[in-house]
Amino acid sequence: MAGARRRRAAPFPDSFRPFSTVTINEIHSRLVQQFGDQITGLNATATDPWIEVAPARWDEVALYLRDDEALRFDSLTNLTGVDYLETDPKKAPKFGHEPHLEVVFHLYSFVHRCRLVVKVKLPRWKNDVPGEIPDCPSVAHIWSIADWHEREAYDLVGINFTGHPNLVRILCVEDWVGHPLRKDYEFPLEYHGIRGK
C-alpha cells in the first residue's frame, strides 16, 4: 500500500484560486462560442458570479461543462430552485423581479479547483396554466447526485425535470399536494384526518 499522502497546511492562498471576473468572462465567451443564443446572461459582479442558460438545451450545456478539457466541472455541489414571487400586494411594487422560477446549479471542478454558478430561468407555470409545473431538462445522467437533488427540487419547488429516471417525491410523502417552497403555497388544513394549524 502506498504511503499516506500528507500535505501541509502552508500554501493557503495558492491552493485556492477563486473565481476572478476574468475567468468567468472566459467561460462565458467559450460557452457563447459553442452554444450561441442558448447562453442568455452573465453577472460577473455578483458575490458568486453566475451564467444564465436557456432551458431548451441545458443538458447539452451541462455535458459540455463537465467534459470540456478547459472546464471539467466534474462535481455538482448544489442544485436548488428559487421562486421569485411576492404574494403581498403592498410589497409587490418594490419586489424588483418578474415572477419566475430559477434553478440554480453550483458546480465545482476538482481538476481546475474552481467554482461556477449556472442559472436556468423558468416560468412559474407551464403555458401560464396554474398547477402545471414547468419543464427543465434533467442532468441526472451527467452528475449522479442530480438524481436526488432534482427529486427534492421537484418535491419542494415544483419543477418537472424531463428525462429524469424516477421523478417522485423524496422528502414529502407520495400523496402530498402542492410544492411547499412555492411562495403562493397554501398550507393544508387537514391531512388524513390530522388537523393543521
Binding site: F12, N78, T80
Partner: protein, 412 residues
C-alpha cells in the same frame, strides 16, 4: 464488493431462494435515526437497495424564508444535531459572505476552537455508533463518556448541551468562559478534586491530554480488532469517480483517496480562519492499513475519521495558545433588522460529516428570499443504492454506518 454465487462466502449455493422485499428501518437501530431501506434480497444477497427518507422533514428551509438570519440559527442546530456548532458556523459565514462582514481575529480563533472541539465530539459518536452497528458495544460507552466532557465544556461556554446556537452572525454570542469548576466527569477521570477551579482553556487542555491517550485504546478496540477489520475491510468499496459524481464529501471522499478538505481548499472567507495553523488532511490509502483494506472501503472511511480526531486536537491546542493574544472582539454586532442586499451567496464549510452548504438569496429585506441548506449526508446517503448492490444483508449496516449519516441533516 459484489458477491456472486461462486463466492465461497455464500454457503447455500445450491439452495434455490425466492426474491424477497425486506424493510430495514425506519426503526432499525443501525440506521442512525429514521432511515428506511427497502432491500430486494435473494437469500442473503441484496440485489437492490432503495433508501426512503423524509421521516424527519421539518421544513427548515421554508421556516428560514420567514425569519431573519439570527432567528434561523436555532433551526440549523437541529440539522446535524451532533455537530450543531459546525452548522451554526456554516450558516453564519454564509450571511457574512453575503453582507461582506469582516470578523475579528479573536472571533475567528474562538470559532476554530469551538468548531474543532465539536468535530472531536461528533467523530467520537460516529466511531462509537459504528462499533455498535457491527456488534461491538464497549467503544460506544467509552465514546459517550468522552463526549460528555466536551458537552460539559460547551455547557460552560454557552449554556446548552446539544443545540447551542452559540456561533452567530458576526462571531459568537458570548466570549469563552474564564474560571469554571472542573466538569465532574473530567474530575473523576483525571483524579482531580471535584471542587477544583480552573480556567476553561486549562480544562480543555486537561481533557485533550487525557483524550489523546485514549485514542490509542480505541485503535486497539476497533481499528486493529481482527473482527472489525473482517467486517469493514474490502466491503463497500467506492471508487474515486463514483465519490465525485455523487458529490460525496468529507471523510467519505477522503476515504476514496481524494485529497480535498475545505479547511485548506475552500473559499477565503472560511480558510482565513485556519490560516497560520498546522494540520494534516488524512487521506486514504494509509501506510498502516491492514492488508485486507482496499482504497475506498469502509475501513478507510472509518480510519480517516479517527485520524481527523487527532488533527482536530492539535488545532484546538494551537487555537487555545493563540486566543489570549488574538486581536479584536469576540463578535461584531449584527442587527436583527439588517436588510440583506439583492444578491446571493453560497458557501460550503467542512463539517464533520462532509461539506455542508448554505445558499442565501437576499432581496432588500431582513428575511431571505430563499434559505437553502445543502446537506452533506443527503449526498453521502444517495450513494447507498449503487454501493450496496450484491452485498450480503449483514454488510448493509456496515456500509451505511461507514457513511456516518445523521437523519436530521438529511431531512432538514
Amino acid at each position: 464488493m459484489s458477491t456472486t454465487l461462486q463466492d465461497p462466502r455464500v454457503i447455500e449455493f445450491d439452495v434455490r431462494t425466492d426474491e424477497m422485499l425486506v424493510n430495514m428501518g425506519p426503526q432499525h437501530p443501525s440506521t442512525h435515526g429514521v432511515l428506511r431501506l427497502l432491500l430486494r434480497t435473494d437469500g442473503e444477497v441484496v440485489h437492490e437497495t432503495t433508501p426512503h427518507i423524509g421521516y424527519l422533514h421539518r421544513s427548515a428551509e421554508k421556516i428560514g424564508e420567514n425569519l431573519a438570519g439570527p432567528q434561523w440559527i436555532p433551526y440549523t442546530d437541529r440539522m446535524d444535531y451532533l455537530a450543531a456548532m459546525n452548522m451554526n458556523l456554516g450558516m453564519a459565514l454564509t450571511f457574512e459572505k453575503l453582507l461582506k462582514i469582516e470578523v475579528p481575529e479573536k472571533a475567528m480563533t474562538l470559532r476554530l476552537i469551538i468548531a474543532e472541539l465539536n468535530r472531536v465530539a461528533s467523530h467520537l459518536v460516529g466511531m462509537g455508533a459504528y462499533g455498535l452497528d457491527l456488534g461491538s458495544f464497549s467503544p460506544f460507552l467509552y465514546a459517550f463518556r468522552e463526549r460528555e466532557i466536551i458537552l460539559d465544556l460547551f455547557e460552560e461556554a454557552c449554556g446548552a448541551r446539544l443545540t447551542y446556537s452559540y456561533l452567530t452572525i458576526g462571531g459568537a454570542t458570548h466570549d469563552l468562559p474564564g474560571m469554571i469548576t472542573i466538569p465532574p466527569g473530567l474530575a473523576s477521570l483525571t483524579g482531580r478534586s471535584p471542587n477544583l477551579k480552573l480556567q476553561w482553556s486549562d480544562a480543555v487542555l486537561l481533557f485533550l491530554e487525557w483524550l489523546e491517550k485514549r485514542i490509542v485504546e480505541y485503535h486497539t478496540l476497533l481499528t486493529r480488532n481482527s473482527i472489525f477489520i473482517k467486517r469493514t475491510a474490502g466491503i463497500g468499496v467506492m471508487p474515486r469517480e463514483m465519490a465525485i459524481s455523487y458529490n460525496c464529501t468529507g471523510p467519505v471522499l477522503r476515504g476514496s483517496g481524494v485529497d480535498f478538505d475545505l479547511r485548506r481548499d475552500g473559499e477565503p472567507i472560511y480558510t482565513r480562519m485556519y490560516q497560520g495553523y498546522e494540520f494534516n488532511v488524512p487521506v486514504a490509502p494509509f501506510e498502516d492499513a491492514p492488508r485486507e483494506a482496499i482504497l475506498g472501503d469502509n475501513w478507510c472511511r472509518f480510519y480517516v475519521r479517527m485520524r481527523e480526531v487527532a488533527e482536530s486536537i492539535g488545532l484546538v491546542r494551537q487555537g487555545l495558545a493563540k486566543y489570549p493574544t488574538a486581536q479584536g472582539a469576540y463578535r461584531v454586532p449584527y442587527k436583527m433588522n439588517t436588510k440583506l442586499p439583492r444578491d446571493e451567496a453560497y458557501l460550503e464549510t467542512e463539517c464533520p460529516r462532509g461539506q455542508m452548504g448554505f445558499y442565501i438569496v437576499g432581496n432588500d429585506q431582513a428575511e431571505p428570499l430563499r434559505a437553502r441548506a445543502k446537506s452533506s449526508c443527503f449526498c453521502n446517503l444517495s450513494v447507498t443504492g449503487p454501493l450496496c448492490e450484491g452485498v450480503l444483508i449483514a454488510d448493509i449496516p456496515s456500509i451505511v454506518g461507514s457513511l456516518d449519516i445523521v437523519m436530521g441533516e438529511i431531512d432538514r
